[in-house]
């Protein structure tokens, strides 16, 4: 079920990138990033008010847990830099490599309090198949 949700997130991301791409072509990378966040914040504010949800900064929670939005803006900035220097397909492939390495470390060590699922040697075969698929896509 959660795997299905993940695939659905992928569908949403593709449409999002398409729409955001049109916006940034017309207005520029930084203007569009600002507008996208402004719209997102506006929507979230409406939902929070409609649900009468109280938003408060919780001092007992470590401050780095509030860094998600900051990281998201850096993701866009880094992607822009890489896109200009390396082109679209290499940016995508290297980004996926970064995601994979980071995910494997989180899974293996249970970083950030996540559930541990240790890396098994048998999985190397699957990883090689996955990597070859990505290489084919990038080269082709």
């Amino acid at each position: 079920m959660y795997k299905l949700f993940s695939a659905f997130i992928g569908v949403l991301i593709t449409i999002m990138i398409l729409l955001n791409g049109v916006l940034s072509q017309k207005l520029g990378n930084y203007s569009s990033t600002f507008i996208i966040h402004l719209l997102g914040l506006t929507l979230m504010s409406f939902i929070v008010i409609a649900k009468k949800n109280k938003i408060s900064f919780n001092k007992n929670i470590p401050i780095y847990l509030y860094s998600g939005g900051i990281l998201g803006v850096f993701t866009i900035l880094f992607n822009n830099i890489s896109f200009n220097l390396l082109g679209a397909s290499l940016t995508l492939a290297l980004g996926l490599l970064g995601q994979s390495i980071c995910s494997l470390v989180i899974d293996h060590y249970g970083v950030l309090g996540m559930r541990i699922s240790k890396f098994k040697k048998e999985k190397l075969i699957g990883l090689i198949i996955i990597a070859s698929g990505i290489v084919i896509m990038t080269i082709y």
């Binding site: 569908v11 996208i36 938003i55 998201g72 980004g95 995910s103 198949i129 082709y140």
Partner: protein, 143 residues
Amino acid sequence: MLIAIVVAITAGASIVIARNVNSILAEKDGLLTSTFFNYATGFSLSAVFLLISSESIKQSYDLMGTVPLWAYLGGLFGVAVVAISNIVTSKISAFYMSLIIFVGQLFTGIIIDYFALGILSIGKVLGGLLVVAGLIYNLYVDK
């Protein structure tokens, strides 16, 4: 060149870290709070970046009317992505989640290319099928 490669890999890693950090905040303080703070902090930083960038705010403002209205919906899709990710991230392995999202992106891209542009990239279909095959194999190993 090497710096560009490091930057691209870091961009990918930052996606995964942001997703995990947001989902832990959601578990502690609720889905709405976590998603709200994601946009509040992101909005603030993007405002700073816009101010120090070379982009003219006035020019962007004047051009806003020329952009088709549907192009502004990307921000709303983004909210859905962050909110659903907040729910899913703590439930399944980070690696499988990254890969399944990628597969979802890939095949949506292939379908959009086919219907909007009439292009069918054999390389993408073949590569995508290999990614799915490797993924299924590893899921099988885990069982």
